[in-house]
C-alpha cells in the first residue's frame, strides 16, 4: 500500500516533466510568438530578433526548456526557475510575474469551481435518491429525463437567453463580471425588515455557478439512483426491513451511505467537467478567472503563462486522481490498488 503510493508519487514529477515538455514543444513549434504579438503595428524583423534574444527566446528548444526549468529565463530575471515554482515573467504583460497574474485568477476560478462542485453533489445526490425512492412511478423517469435535458444544453446556447432574461428583461442579475476583490465577493447581506441580516451569495455568482453545475448534476443523480436501486435489493436491507426497522431508518442507515460510495469516484470527472465549462463560462460572462486567462494566453502565445497553467492544472488533477484511487481501496477492499478503475 505505502509502496504503491510512494511509487505513484515518484511517478508524478515524471508525468509533469513530460506534460510540460510536450506543452513547451507544441507552443514553440507553431508559428507566431509573443514578441510579434506584443510589438503592435511596427514589426521590423531585425528589431524583433533583437527582442527575442533579449527575452530568452533564442537558442535550441532544449536550451530554452532548460532555462524555463532551472531559471535565468531572461537576463536580470529572478533566476528561480519553474522547478522551484517561479514561472517567470509574462511575455505579454511585461512587469508582471506569471505567478501573480495567475494567483488571483485562480482564486476566482477556484471559488466558482468549488461552489459548482457543491451544487453538483448537493443537488445531484438528493435528486438521485428521490428518483430511486420513487422508482416505478412517473417521478423517476421525469427527474432523470429532465436532468438529461439539462445536460444536453450547451453552455454557449443557454448563456445568451439567460442573460437576456435575467439581466436585460428582469434586471435582477448583473450582466457578467466579478463582484468583489478576489474573495470578498461571495457574500452580500440581505436585510429582512431592516432587522434580520441574511448573507446571500454575490449576484455575480448565480449564473456562472448554475451554468457550470448543470452538466454534472445529471451524472451524479443517475449514478446515485442506480446504486441506490442496487442497494435496495441487498440482503442486509431486506433483513433490516424484515426486522421492522422503519423505512426512514433504513434509508438513512443503509441505503444512503452505500449508494454514496461510487459518488467518490466521479468527483474527478466532475472537476474536469467544471474546469472545461469554466473556459466558456468565464469568457462569455466576462469573469476574470483562469479559464478565460488561459485562452487569452494561448491566443497571444504567452508561453510562460500557458506552461504555468498547464503544469498547475495537471498537478492538481494528478494528485486528486491519486487520492480518489487510494480512497477507493479503503472503501471497497475488493479493489486492488493499481487495478482500480481510474476515476
Amino acid at each position: 500500500m505505502a509502496a504503491y503510493i510512494i511509487r505513484r508519487l515518484l511517478w508524478l514529477p515524471v508525468v509533469l516533466f513530460v506534460v510540460s515538455f510536450a506543452t513547451f514543444s507544441i507552443a514553440r513549434f507553431g508559428p507566431g510568438d509573443p514578441v510579434s504579438v506584443a510589438a503592435g503595428q511596427y514589426r521590423d524583423p531585425e528589431v524583433l530578433e533583437r527582442i527575442r534574444a533579449e527575452r530568452g527566446l533564442d537558442g535550441s528548444i532544449f536550451e530554452q526548456y532548460g532555462r524555463w526549468l532551472f531559471g535565468d529565463l531572461y537576463p536580470g530575471g529572478s533566476g528561480g526557475g519553474s522547478i522551484r515554482g517561479d514561472f517567470g515573467e509574462s511575455f505579454i504583460q511585461r512587469g508582471f510575474t506569471v505567478n501573480e497574474l495567475i494567483r488571483k485568477r485562480m482564486l476566482i476560478s477556484a471559488q466558482l469551481g468549488l461552489l459548482a462542485l457543491v451544487v453538483v453533489f448537493g443537488t445531484g445526490i438528493p435528486l438521485g435518491l428521490l428518483a430511486a425512492r420513487f422508482s416505478g412511478t412517473w417521478i423517476d423517469p421525469f427527474v432523470i429525463t429532465s436532468l438529461l435535458f439539462l445536460t444536453a444544453l450547451p453552455v454557449l446556447v443557454i448563456i445568451p437567453p439567460l442573460l437576456w432574461l435575467f439581466a436585460l428583461q428582469l434586471d435582477i442579475l448583473p450582466a457578467g463580471g466579478w463582484g468583489g476583490d478576489g474573495f470578498a465577493g461571495i457574500f452580500d447581506v440581505w436585510w429582512i425588515g431592516g432587522v434580520i441580516a441574511v448573507p446571500i451569495p454575490d449576484p455575480h455568482l448565480y449564473m456562472p455557478v448554475f451554468v457550470l453545475s448543470i452538466g454534472g448534476i445529471a451524472g451524479v443523480a443517475r449514478l446515485v439512483r442506480i446504486t441506490a436501486l442496487e442497494v435496495l435489493t441487498e440482503d442486509y436491507v431486506r433483513t433490516a426491513r424484515a426486522k421492522g426497522i422503519t423505512e426512514a431508518a433504513v434509508a438513512l442507515r443503509h441505503v444512503l451511505p452505500n449508494s454514496l460510495l461510487p459518488v467518490v469516484t466521479v468527483i474527478g470527472f466532475a472537476l474536469v467537467g467544471i474546469l472545461e465549462g469554466a473556459f466558456f463560462t468565464e469568457t462569455l460572462l466576462g469573469i476574470p478567472g483562469i479559464g478565460r486567462f488561459s485562452i487569452e494566453a494561448v491566443q497571444s502565445r504567452d508561453y510562460d503563462v500557458i506552461l504555468a497553467i498547464t503544469v498547475i492544472i495537471a498537478t492538481a488533477f494528478l494528485i486528486a486522481n491519486l487520492i480518489i484511487e487510494i480512497s477507493y481501496t479503503f472503501i471497497d477492499p475488493r479493489v486492488r490498488l493499481g487495478e482500480a478503475v481510474n476515476a
Binding site: 508559428p31 507566431g32 510568438d33 514578441v35 510579434s36 504579438v37 506584443a38 510589438a39 503592435g40 503595428q41 511596427y42 514589426r43 521590423d44 531585425e46 528589431v47 524583433l48 533583437r50 537576463p75 529572478s78 528561480g80 522551484r84 515554482g85 517561479d86 514561472f87 505579454i92 504583460q93 511585461r94 512587469g95 510575474t97 505567478n99 501573480e100 497574474l101 495567475i102 494567483r103 485562480m106 477556484a110 468549488l114 462542485l117 442573460l163 434586471d171 448583473p174 450582466a175 457578467g176 463580471g177 466579478w178 476583490d181 454514496l260 459518488v263 468527483i267 466576462g286 469573469i287 476574470p288 491566443q299 497571444s300 498547475i312 492538481a316 494528485i319 486528486a320 487520492i323 480518489i324
Partner: protein, 574 residues
C-alpha cells in the same frame, strides 16, 4: 455500522482533501515563487493596490480609503467621478507599449515634450518652446519650469535625455523605439548596443535639450507625441526596474491610484498638473463584465459602446438612449491586401477586377447599418491630406469581367487557387469577407478560400510575406500621411508586407519625406495615394467609426480618431 461511519469520514476527507489541493496547491506553487518581489511588497496579495511611491502622506491616506472598498471611497468624490468601460493595458511602460489599449492610460499619466490637442494639432507639453534650425535637423526644446513628477520632483533636461536613452536601450528591447526615435542620430547604434549614449541628444542646460535628426523630416515632431518619447522617472525605475509600472510616477494630469488586473483601474487627478488640475477628480475604468450598454443602462457606466444590434435604437431620437447617442470617426482603415509578387495578384487587372466586383457600399449600408463608412481612399477624414472625393473602385461587375478577361490569365478558370487569410478570434469568418467571397463567386466565377488563423500566426505569416491575400486594418499612430503611405507602400519599407513596388510612388514618397512646405508635401501624398489606389495594392474597404452613448451628466465627451490625452477636457456635472 462502524464500517459505514468510516466510509462517510473517508468521503468527507476526500472532499476536504480536494478543496485543499485545489486551493492549497495553487497557493503553495504561486506564493512560494514570489520571494523576489514579495520582499519589495510585503502585502503580496494586494501588491498591486498598495501605495509603493513615497508620494506624501495625503496619497497614502487616499490609498488606504480606496482599499477599503470603491463605493465608500467614491462617495466622497462622486461629483467629479467618471466611470468608463476599459480593458487591462498590456503594460503601462510608455517606452514599450505598442497598442492603443495601453496608450489610452499612458497618455493620461505621462507626458512628452509635445502632445496632440483634441483637434489633432501638435502642441507644446513639457516643453515651453521649440526652435528648429533652418536646415531642419536640430530641434532645441526649452522645458517649462513648473513640471513636477507625481512625487513632487521637478523634471529637468537630464530626465528627458535619460528617458529617450532608456526607451532606445538594448536591454529594454522596445518594439517601438526605432520606429519613433530612429530618426535621432545615434539611436540605432544605441539600440544595437554599439554606443553607450545617443549622440543626437544633448543636454544644453538644466532646462534645454537638443535633438539632432538624420534628415529634415517635417513629421519628426508628430512622432515625439507618441508614448515612446515620453518622460519617465529615472529614480523610480532604477529602484524598482521590473515592478515600477504597477504604480508608475509620471507627470500627467492623472496618476494611477489603483490597478486590479481584470477588475478596475482608478486614475486620480494630479493637483499639480502643469496645465491646471483636471475637472474630473477620479476616473474609474471597469475592466470586467459583459455588454457595456447593459451596464450603462443599469447606471454602472457613464459611457457605453453601441453595437450593430442596438444602433437602430440609438439612432432613434425618441428612444431612451437616442438623445445620448454620439458618433465619431476614427483613424482606422480596413482593407484587403494583395501580395503583388504572387500569382495571380502580380497582374494589376486581377486585383482591379476583384475590387470592382465587391459592393462595399451595399454591405456597409445593409449589413453594417452604416456604422462604418465606405473608404474613399487610404487617408481618413480629419487626417492632413484627406480629400473627400472617392478614389476607390466602384461596384461595376461588367468592367470587372472585362478586366479579368484582359489579364494575362484570361478567365477565372485559369487563375491559380486564391486564399484569403484573416485573423479569426472565433468560428466565423468576418461577415464582410464572407459577403465578398460570395460576390466574387457570383460576379466573376472565382472561388476564393478563407483561411482563418489566430493572431500570432497571422502576424508571423504577414511579416514573412507568406500571405497571398488578407483582410486587415491599420490604425494611425500619429496624424501624418507618412505613417501609412510611406510605411506600407514604399518598396524599401520593412512594413511593406504586400511586396508593392512602384518606382513612381517611391520617388514621390522620397520627395514628400523632406518637403518642408506643408501644402506641397500633402499634395505629394495625395498623388501617391491616387497612384496606389489605382494600382490596387490594397482595396480600401472602410473607415471605422465609433458609436457611443454618453451619460447626460458628462460634458464635452469625445472619441478622438486616435489615442490622445482627453480626460482633462471632460467635465462631470454630478
Amino acid at each position: 455500522m462502524g464500517g459505514q461511519n468510516r466510509i462517510i469520514v473517508i468521503m468527507l476527507g476526500v472532499l476536504a482533501a480536494l478543496v485543499l489541493i485545489i486551493g492549497g496547491l495553487s497557493a503553495a506553487l504561486l506564493l512560494g515563487g514570489g520571494d523576489d518581489d514579495g520582499a519589495a511588497e510585503p502585502t503580496a496579495a494586494a501588491g498591486i493596490t498598495t501605495d509603493t511611491g513615497g508620494a506624501g502622506s495625503d496619497d497614502g491616506a487616499a490609498g488606504d480609503s480606496g482599499d477599503g472598498g470603491d463605493s465608500g471611497g467614491g462617495a466622497a468624490s462622486a461629483a467629479g467621478r467618471l466611470r468608463l468601460p476599459g480593458s487591462d493595458p498590456v503594460t503601462l511602460d510608455p517606452h514599450i507599449a505598442g497598442d492603443s489599449g495601453s496608450a489610452e492610460y499612458i497618455v493620461e499619466v505621462f507626458n512628452g515634450l509635445v502632445t496632440l490637442s483634441p483637434d489633432l494639432s501638435i502642441e507644446l507639453d513639457l516643453a515651453e518652446s521649440v526652435e528648429i534650425s533652418p536646415d531642419g535637423l536640430q530641434y532645441t526644446f526649452t522645458l517649462r519650469d513648473d513640471i513636477l513628477f507625481h512625487n513632487g520632483r521637478r523634471v529637468n533636461a537630464e530626465d528627458v535625455r535619460w528617458s529617450i536613452q532608456r526607451a532606445a536601450s538594448p536591454e529594454l528591447a522596445s518594439p517601438t523605439a526605432l520606429a519613433y526615435l530612429g530618426d535621432i542620430i545615434g539611436v540605432r547604434e544605441h539600440f544595437y548596443g554599439l554606443a553607450e549614449t545617443i549622440e543626437g541628444i544633448e543636454v544644453i542646460d538644466d532646462r534645454t535639450v537638443r535633438f539632432t535628426i538624420d534628415e529634415p523630416k517635417p513629421y519628426f515632431l508628430a512622432k515625439l507625441t507618441y508614448p515612446t518619447a515620453f518622460v519617465v522617472d529615472q529614480q523610480q525605475i532604477e529602484s524598482n526596474p521590473r515592478g515600477w509600472t504597477r504604480r508608475p510616477i509620471g507627470t500627467g494630469p492623472y496618476r494611477l491610484q489603483e490597478w486590479r488586473i481584470g477588475e478596475r483601474i482608478v486614475l486620480r487627478a494630479n493637483p499639480r498638473f502643469h496645465f491646471g488640475e483636471p475637472s474630473v477628480r477620479e476616473v474609474l475604468y471597469e475592466l470586467a463584465g459583459g455588454s457595456t450598454l447593459t451596464r450603462f443602462e443599469n447606471g454602472e457606466l457613464d459611457i457605453a459602446f453601441i453595437s450593430v444590434n442596438d444602433i437602430d435604437r440609438a439612432r432613434d431620437p425618441d428612444s431612451d438612449i437616442g438623445p445620448l447617442y454620439q458618433e465619431f470617426s476614427q483613424f482606422t482603415i480596413s482593407y484587403l491586401a494583395f501580395n503583388t509578387q504572387v500569382p495571380p495578384f502580380d497582374d494589376v487587372n486581377v486585383r482591379r477586377a476583384l475590387g470592382l466586383s465587391i459592393d462595399r457600399k451595399l454591405i456597409a449600408e445593409v449589413t453594417f447599418k452604416n456604422m462604418i463608412a465606405p473608404a474613399t481612399g487610404i487617408l481618413m477624414p480629419q487626417l492632413p491630406g484627406y480629400t473627400p472625393q472617392d478614389k476607390t473602385f466602384q461596384f461595376d461587375p461588367d468592367e470587372a469581367r472585362r478586366l479579368l478577361a484582359e489579364s494575362k490569365y484570361g478567365s477565372a478558370e485559369e487563375l491559380p487557387p486564391i486564399v484569403i487569410t484573416e485573423v479569426g478570434g472565433g468560428a466565423e469568418a468576418r461577415i464582410d469577407t464572407q459577403a465578398f467571397i460570395e460576390q466574387w463567386r457570383e460576379e466573376l466565377g472565382i472561388e476564393v478560400r478563407i483561411q482563418q488563423t489566430d493572431f500570432a500566426t497571422f502576424l508571423e505569416d504577414q511579416d514573412s510575406g507568406r500571405l497571398q491575400m488578407f483582410n486587415a486594418g491599420w490604425i494611425m499612430d500619429y496624424p501624418d500621411p507618412e505613417d501609412i503611405l510611406d510605411l506600407k507602400f514604399h518598396s524599401e519599407s520593412e512594413l511593406n508586407d504586400v511586396g508593392y513596388s512602384n518606382a513612381e510612388v517611391d520617388a514621390i514618397l522620397d520627395r514628400a519625406r523632406t518637403e518642408q512646405d506643408t501644402a506641397a508635401r500633402l499634395a505629394l501624398y495625395q498623388e501617391a495615394e491616387r497612384v496606389i489606389v489605382e494600382d490596387a495594392a490594397w482595396l480600401p474597404l472602410y473607415f471605422s467609426r465609433v458609436h457611443v452613448v454618453v451619460n447626460a451628466a458628462v460634458e464635452g465627451w469625445f472619441e478622438p480618431p486616435m489615442v490622445i490625452p482627453r480626460l482633462r477636457h471632460i467635465i462631470v456635472n454630478r
